[in-house]
Symmetry: C2
Subunit: 201 residues, 2 copies
């Protein structure tokens, strides 16, 4: 397809596609003449990934390059999934924590990489909740964990297996794009439950 | 208690407490002499709320004032819950959407305020997922909704009822502080499920 069709299929302005090509976030098309190139479905998929990472996740170009490096690299799929996750926001700082995440993950019997970014995100998130006087005991956090597990099972079941790139793109895009879906639904669910309980208004 | 104890109990530097007092994010203590004031548990709770809104949610002082205005206002509790939610990030822009959220909420039989911020967040999130080629059908989104509902039921069940302010503080702080818990657990759950399925490494 031509660049205009590529842009249309990924819903990105042509000028932006040209920019991504120029800075190397999108691989060049196949030249069909001195001034024309043709693009394939792989370009559409890559363009959607880049767009989601930049526009939705708010990643810098350098961070996008890091994610693409993992997608295009030769680390095995499973390790690459973790690396992609770790490359996505929010970052973590190096403040010391109470280490609550390890106990949570152990209690659940989940496999996890000690000290990975998601573990540190959970450590910091649980400390912040505890500092504010909110419950972070095993039973309370367990409800979040069960909810997260149900969501994760569906996501991994839908992960495309036809190629390593497709699987990793789905993981990166899915992590970034379903997060706001889950958070918006949680707020709507809270309003619904509060309304049902109190009779509203 | 004295300002140093107040600062310690909310884990905020004394200089920051003085600053919040100066700009009116924290109400003044009761004067015990010309240069000394005393503070109560209400100050600790308010300080934790302000700290969570600024440090964790990243709200500006103007946005914090808006949330505090709702907490301190006389709107009934149920309407105030919605207003607090709407005042928290992420904001929504006014781009037009496919209006998928209304269908989702209808399908679930949830009560919701049409056009509220959370509905628009869901509209925009579902459009972004659909644009990236991710599933947004009723069954797929339903899994997120069930997870969100389980979490919301626990949260509302734990909402303190002894005062309007305590209930609203809990809602605001809980919304902001449990979001990162849920998201970190989702990433850990994905790693766990992927590991279980593939045998890892």
């Amino acid at each position: 397809m031509r660049i205009s069709q590529l842009a249309e299929r990924a819903d990105v302005p042509v000028a932006t596609v040209k920019y991504y090509l120029r800075v190397g976030l999108l691989p060049p098309g196949e030249l069909t003449s001195a001034t024309q190139a043709t693009y394939d479905d792989g370009h559409v998929e890559r363009l959607r990934l880049v767009r989601a990472l930049i526009e939705v996740a708010g990643l810098s170009h350098v961070q996008v390059q890091a994610v693409l490096g993992v997608v295009d690299g030769d680390v095995d799929l499973f390790d690459a999934l973790g690396t992609v996750h770790d490359a996505l926001p929010p970052g973590v700082d190096d403040r010391s924590t109470q280490g609550r995440a390890a106990a949570v993950v152990d209690g659940l019997g989940w496999w996890a990489v000690p000290g990975c970014t998601a573990m540190r995100q959970l450590d910091q998130a649980l400390d912040a909740a505890a500092d504010a006087g909110l419950p972070v005991d095993e039973a309370y956090v367990g409800t979040y964990a069960e909810a997260a597990l149900a969501v994760a099972e569906q996501e991994i079941a839908h992960m495309p297996r036809e190629s390593r790139e497709a699987a990793l793109t789905y993981t990166a895009v899915g992590t970034v794009l379903y997060e706001p879906v889950l958070l918006a639904l949680r707020r709507l669910a809270e309003a619904h439950v509060a309304h049902t309980e109190t009779g509203g208004g």
